[in-house]
């Protein structure tokens, strides 16, 4: 699989730049990646059709969870990964989307599958408004203002009669046949995850993404180079708020209730950050790999250790270790060492 890469490295080691060989190697690498990606996508697409596999519902449930977190951490990555503006309260948008669609379902009977996109737009608008204030600062003050935003929303939803206060709201159970109950959610979340990754890829390979990375590298120089940093940061914030709104709407429907402690806990936002950093922020594949890694780890530790407190210790320690020793995350560190397998190179 890495033959192409080895060729490529040995060529450059000898400082003989044979462009034909390099291009051939790159093409082979891309082909490996595309075929591998297609196989994985096909397997993931067909999985819900095999009802005979053991623990069918559990497998689908884990799938829904993995796709949801891929979508969430990828959208966090658009702002946090490229511009370096770290939002620790990004679950605000996730929760607001969830509540918005839940209210539409309860009061007007509109299915969240239909209103999810609208929930995303609501989250996006909220992101623009939040950006207006929070982008007056940068660095640590920005991070702190996102935490404050989360706590404002938490306090507000905790005591707002319309949203049922701290008890939240119960939603009507989705009208799906029991044996296929999880399938619509599985495909919807898969769609969100693919869309988020597509968006990430588009951002990576556009002038917009280039501007964001310039801001991340040095804001003043970016400004001098003629980039409207404020506009681009606002756009990035709005874009990265959109998908959490959509995902929140669908997730709320799948669990049939909304409650502040499910959506507005700081641990939820922390999870997005943790996944993106473990996987490798500022890359397309990083947040996805981080999400899959963390969810599987969580499932395993819940099965074998049980205690959720230790889970917290573990997550925190993992974050510390990655930051200190592998600041590039899984993808960044592997790429630095030239060992990134083609299948994980989505940039």
């Amino acid at each position: 699989m890495t033959d192409g890469l080895k060729d490529l490295r040995s060529e450059t080691d000898a400082e003989v730049v044979d462009t034909v060989a390099v291009e051939e190697a790159l093409r082979r690498r891309r082909r490996v990646r595309n075929v591998g990606g297609l196989v994985i996508l096909l397997a993931v697409l067909l999985l819900p059709l095999f009802r005979s596999i053991g623990a069918y519902n559990y497998v689908l449930q884990v799938g829904v969870s993995v796709f949801m977190w891929i979508a969430l951490s990828s959208s966090w990555n658009i702002l946090g990964g490229y511009t370096g503006y770290i939002s620790l309260g990004h679950n605000v948008f996730y929760g607001v989307g969830a509540y918005f669609s839940a209210l539409l379902l309860i009061h007007f009977g509109i299915s969240p599958f239909l209103s999810a996109a609208l929930a995303g737009v609501v989250a996006l608008c909220l992101g623009l408004i939040a950006g207006l204030v929070t982008f007056r600062t940068h660095g640590p003050s920005f991070i702190i203002s996102t935490i404050a935003l989360l706590f404002i929303v938490l306090l507000w939803f905790d005591s707002w009669a319309l949203t049922g206060g701290a008890n939240g709201l119960s939603l009507p159970v989705p009208p799906f046949p029991r044996e296929w109950f999880r399938m619509p959610f599985y495909y919807a979340m898969l769609g969100c995850a693919v869309f988020a990754l597509f968006l990430g890829h588009r951002v990576q390979h556009s002038k917009f993404g280039l501007a964001l990375r310039a801001i991340g590298a040095d804001q003043v120089k970016a400004e001098v180079a003629g980039i409207n940093t404020r506009l681009f940061k606002m756009l990035a914030f709005a874009l990265s708020a959109f998908i959490p709104g959509v995902v929140g709407a669908i997730f709320a429907y799948s669990i049939s209730y909304v409650r502040p402690t499910v959506f507005f806990l700081i641990a939820v936002g922390a999870q997005m950050v943790l996944m993106a950093i473990i996987g490798g922020r500022g890359t397309v594949a990083g947040p996805a790999i981080g999400a899959a890694f963390v969810i599987l780890l969580n499932e395993m530790s819940l099965t074998y250790l049980g205690a959720t407190e230790l889970n917290l210790v573990f997550s925190g320690a993992l974050l510390i270790v990655v930051l200190l020793f592998f600041p590039g995350g899984i993808v960044g560190s592997l790429r630095e060492r030239g060992k990134l397998p083609a299948i994980l190179d989505w940039d």
């Binding site: 370096g84 770290i86 620790l88 204030v133 929070t134 007056r136 600062t137 660095g139 640590p140 003050s141 991070i143 702190i144 203002s145 935490i147 404050a148 935003l149 989360l150 706590f151 404002i152 306090l155 905790d158 005591s159 804001q219 003043v220 700081i266 641990a267 922390a270 950050v273 950093i277 205690a307 407190e309 230790l310 889970n311 917290l312 210790v313 573990f314 997550s315 925190g316 320690a317 993992l318 974050l319 510390i320 930051l323 200190l324 020793f325 600041p327």
Partner: protein, 291 residues
């Protein structure tokens, strides 16, 4: 009218404790550009430290704070040595410290929840239920003692920073790290000591916290959100700003708690942060940094 003055008294009393809690956080940022998200977790840890010593020995929490300071000074110095030298020189140091201490906060919370469970705790010294009466007003003894202890510690901190050789070095490092290094300040030693002092202050604050507020491990998130709002509102790294913001906002939140309900009291701090960011992005006493 009596209620208005009574609430003012209670607000001032709490303001002192808030000021002590946020002063440690400010020192950490001012000297080392470390935003310590785990600060409230350390305060709660110190509150447990105080709680268990109080339970075993019956010592007064105010006295235990004198044990807590050196203990947490050492804890802070150890944290500094193990966590931060690797980050030094990284291009986004302040942001990295946020993420690092965010992880640390989860580790501390998880450990406390595992070992001490999630039950509400509070140390209950004899004076917890006592109060001094001045005409129509009363002053709760516990909160008065906490305010006095906070004042003593803040004055000691001020004196340490202003009248000792080490203090000069720390203040120089706060003003300009590179320039301080040029004139011969051992910046690394100043950082180590001020990290110890910052965490030591959290230790002292935790001892007072243990009888002023009931606590359990997950409580620290609410507190860190309040403390961070305070230091940003006051101007990151400004000790004076943090103390003034603490006292003023504690008073405002006491009124909000009285007239709108205690649920809304924390909202004062977050809302103030946003209002101040709109009017004055660098905070009350913050310096405009040339990037």
């Amino acid at each position: 009218m009596n209620t208005v003055i009574q609430v003012l008294i209670l607000g001032i009393l709490l303001g002192g404790v808030y000021a002590l809690m946020s002063s440690g956080l400010t020192i950490l940022f001012g000297v080392m550009r470390v935003v310590n998200i785990a600060h409230a977790a350390v305060i709660i840890l110190a509150a447990y430290f105080t709680f268990f010593i109080w339970q075993w020995t019956g010592l007064d929490p105010l006295l235990i704070s004198l044990i807590a300071i050196p203990t947490f000074f050492l804890f802070g110095a150890t944290l500094y040595v193990t966590l931060f030298p690797r980050l030094e020189g990284s291009p986004r140091f302040a942001e990295m410290t946020v993420l690092l201490t965010f992880g640390l906060a989860f580790v501390l919370e998880g450990l406390m929840a595992y070992f001490f469970t999630g039950i509400f705790r509070q140390t209950q010294p004899a004076y917890l239920t006592e109060a001094f009466r001045f005409g129509p007003f009363y002053v709760p003894a516990a909160q008065l003692y906490a305010l006095l202890a906070s004042l003593v510690l803040l004055i000691a901190l001020w004196a340490f920073l202003n009248f000792t050789h080490t203090g000069y070095g720390i203040r120089a490092t706060m003003q300009n790290r590179t320039a301080a290094q040029i004139v011969g300040v051992d910046v690394r030693r100043a950082s180590l000591i001020s990290f110890g002092v910052g965490i030591g202050l959290a230790g002292a604050a935790g001892a007072l916290f243990s009888f002023v507020f009931p606590f359990f491990p997950a409580r620290h998130w609410q507190w860190i959100a309040i403390l961070l709002s305070l230091i940003v509102a006051g101007g990151l790294g400004s000790l004076k700003g943090a103390v003034i913001a603490s006292v003023v906002l504690a008073i405002v939140s006491a009124y909000v708690s009285q007239y709108l309900g205690p649920v809304w009291a924390p909202m004062v701090f977050y809302a103030a942060l946003f209002l101040i960011l709109i009017v004055r992005p660098q905070g009350l006493y913050g310096k405009v940094r040339r990037i």
